[in-house]
């Protein structure tokens, strides 16, 4: 019997690693992958709670999060491909076209 707090702490650590990825990397694809890691960390916490409370709600919500993540990845990657076609680069430091 593992305490539920361990799962929540693990979820927080994975989420923070995702946040660090978004803050420190310049490759747009790696930033996107860190966002997926953050979503995954939240999913883990939800399934852990669902297992403790013996309810299905957490698992069903994780289904919806996975579906939304798939839709987001499709549109996001299309955007990145479009940006690459325009600027020949996916370095986010060079995406400063809207800078004043």
């Amino acid at each position: 019997m593992v305490p539920l707090n361990y799962y929540v702490i693990l979820s927080a650590v994975l989420f923070t690693i995702g946040v660090l990825g978004v803050l420190t990397r310049r490759n747009a694809l790696i930033i996107f992958m860190s966002i997926e890691l953050m979503l995954n960390a939240a999913n883990l916490a939800m399934v852990a709670f669902s297992s403790v409370l013996q309810e299905f709600t957490g698992q069903i919500f994780v289904f919806f999060v996975i579906a939304v993540a798939a839709a987001e990845v499709a549109v996001g990657l299309a955007l990145i491909v479009g940006i690459f076609r325009a600027k020949r680069s996916i370095d986010v430091d060079q995406m400063s076209g809207l800078k004043g």
Binding site: V2, I9, L14, L37, V81
Partner: protein, 174 residues
């Protein structure tokens, strides 16, 4: 140390190690493969947490479709390596410091103040039966029918959006 705790710590170590491997990889393909390992580890976590359907959905959709899409785009754009060089040299150390503060705060709060009460039960064989699956399906299609249908519309919109965003317009030739 019970077997449950040893299993949890082993899986947690692999999950955190692969997440850090994704964070620190210079090569985008290695980062994507590390993330695939992380997703499979989280799927094994779901199996330990008596959620077999979500575990298989995670392997099929997340590790099997989304990461394959990522690898396609990485290889399409040739984005394995980015040239080094910082625009703002103080940005990275500041981000690392703030990230450490965030994780220290979160772990401190979760350990001392906002402890989640409860014990995760051991995975039972009853979780892998058709009865459990039928109950999950009934809950999904009875109480959560509207989010289910809205998700289908969301997927349709995402599909249209992805096609429209990558459409090349035909140039008129005069």
């Amino acid at each position: 140390m019970t077997a449950d705790l040893i299993l949890f710590l082993g899986l947690a170590l692999v999950a955190v190690a692969t997440a850090l491997g994704m964070l620190f990889s210079r090569n985008a393909i290695y980062a994507a493969l590390f993330l695939v390992l992380n997703f499979v580890t989280v799927a094994i976590f779901y199996l330990v947490l008596s959620a077999p359907l979500v575990a298989m959905a995670q392997v099929t959709v997340y590790a099997g479709a989304i990461m394959v899409l990522f690898l396609f785009v990485i290889m399409l754009l040739g984005a394995e390596k980015l040239p080094a060089g910082e625009v703002l040299p103080w940005q990275r150390p500041l981000a690392v410091i703030l990230g450490f503060i965030l994780v220290a705060e979160a772990v401190y709060l979760l350990v001392t103040r906002a402890q989640a009460q409860g014990q995760v039960p051991q995975p039972q064989a009853a979780a892998n039966t058709m009865d459990n699956l039928r109950d999950l399906g009934q809950t999904l299609f009875n109480q959560y029918l509207i989010p289910f249908e809205v998700t289908s519309i969301l997927l349709l919109v995402a599909m249209i959006g992805a096609i429209v965003l990558t459409l090349r317009e035909k140039k008129e030739s005069n």
